[in-house]
């Protein structure tokens, strides 16, 4: 039996008539940060959405803790212990920060309260703007709220899609720091275009190109492999 937390095996998925994922395979081990890398349009976001059941699996299997989740509905997948921070942050603009947090809490027990306190210490801005509508937050604050909302539950796996997108460098540093702290307790699957950020917090990586996984390895190796970085990530 595999020790991996999440395993994708030759997963294919369509968005309308477009064949986006054409054979994505990778395994996420428990603990640490696994990074999905690739150029724009390679299929990274679609991979996360497919894991969450927001896109249907055409072919292949997705297993989480040894259980096939490919046929489950999104809410069932979420309740298995997978938190999702989408690319657009998915903050509920009309709800206050507090309401955004509460609506995300699956339980109101001691552990959830402890996690809430921890995450509010990590992102003090959320405490400051507790009664402010989510829609009125800055881009960075929205990102913090989105991450906090996913972390407040005892999820085994967090899927985080491009947390640095559109953020100022100083905010990216803050988000990076928060993910580094979270990885101590939770396994993270990160999609990130910002290679500096990804290389700083990632342990292992998979490269997706044209809807297929084309390379995998340890992040330390990738940092040394200029040819691979140029070929698939366009980094000179």
């Amino acid at each position: 039996m595999s020790s991996s937390l999440l395993k994708l095996d030759q997963v294919e998925a369509y968005i309308q008539k477009f064949h986006i994922l054409q054979g994505v395979s990778f395994e996420v081990e428990k603990g640490g940060v696994t990074v999905l890398l690739g150029r724009n349009g390679a299929g990274k976001t679609t991979t996360l959405r497919t894991i969450m059941g927001l896109n249907q699996v055409g072919k292949g299997t997705i297993t989480f803790n040894g259980e096939n989740i490919g046929d489950l509905q999104t809410h069932q997948i979420a309740n298995k212990g997978i938190g999702y921070v989408p690319e657009d942050q998915g903050v509920f603009g009309d709800l206050t920060v507090g309401e955004n947090m509460r609506v995300a809490m699956k339980k109101e027990d001691e552990e959830t309260t402890r996690r809430m306190e921890w995450v509010l210490e990590l992102f003090p801005d959320l405490k400051k703007f507790w009664k402010k509508p989510g829609g009125a937050l800055s881009g960075g604050q929205k990102q913090m709220l989105a991450i906090a909302r996913a972390y407040v539950n005892e999820n085994e796996l967090l899927l985080i899609d491009e947390p640095s997108k559109g953020l100022a460098p100083i905010i990216v540093d803050k988000v990076t720091e928060s993910i580094e702290q979270m990885k101590e307790n939770t396994t993270i699957l990160l999609v990130e275009q910002n290679f500096m950020m990804a290389s700083k917090i990632g342990n292992q990586f998979f490269i997706i190109d044209d809807g297929k996984t084309v390379h995998k390895g340890q992040m330390e190796e990738l940092k040394q492999d200029k040819v691979l970085m140029k070929k698939y990530l366009g980094i000179a």
Partner: protein, 332 residues
Amino acid sequence: MNIRRMEKSTWIFIIISLLLFIVPFIVTGRSMQFTIIQIFIFAIFAMSYDILLGFTGIISFGHVMFFGIGAYSTAVIMDRMDATVMSFFVAILIAVFIAVIVSFIVGVLTLRLKSHFYAMLTLALAGLFLVAAEKWRSLTGGNDGFTFRLPEILRDSHNLYMLCLVSLLLFFFGLRRFTKSPFGRVLMAIRENEARTESLGYKVLHYKVIASVVAGVVASIAGVLYALSLRFVNTGVFATDLTIDVLLMTIIGGVGTLVGPILGAGLVEFAHHWLSGLSDVHWIFDRWIILYGTVYILVVIFFPLGIVGTIQSKLTNRPVKGLQDNRKAVGK
């Protein structure tokens, strides 16, 4: 409930509620009392629509079917049974029972659809109810309708006023609590982003069906009161015009505010009352719907959040907790 911790707005609503209890002692004209009773009834109906549109983001063009179910349940029971208070309670129970069954079935079968398909399907279903009511003349009296007797206590307009007012207040405070509860928060999350709410672990369909059942039951009670106020029913209670009326009451007042639909109902019913009365002055007032349409266009242009929504937004300097924009609510 901790009185000290009650919100300022709750105090304002309580004071207004108390004032409304005095109104029938000041306004003694039957015509005006009847207009106010109609406002209370349509305010309940509009609040039920606000649960769908304002809090869950569901656009239904067939909400009138529940109103009609309530009206016909009352009329048929009061007509076939003795006109007693007990019959009235039986009518309410039957109205609620049918509304729960119908709204549950309609919800489960149609709420999976995308919003515009759902809106069209509810329109078709309401049309089916209208046709069925017109064809089943032995029960409904068709378009000619029928009158029925009321228990002695409800024949008095003062008592009817109090019954409608108490119902309005119960539904207002009840629905206010409902929308502020954790369940209400999930409904608002669904309104904003269904996929995101689903990925937080909520089965969106369940929540939408429950919202649809709650809205259906409240609308059916409005229908019960409507039939009581007229002591008459015909197939007009299934007409789509009524759904459009409450849609406009909700939008003019402010979606997602609960108090907005009450204000909207007041404005529309008063406008109807006064403008129709001016028909001798100019023919345009006889066609008051033209003016009504003009007011609606002006409100949507100048008060896109509705009247209450705009006031709340100005007072708190933040977007109101409802749909950001009425135009968004109607998909424009």
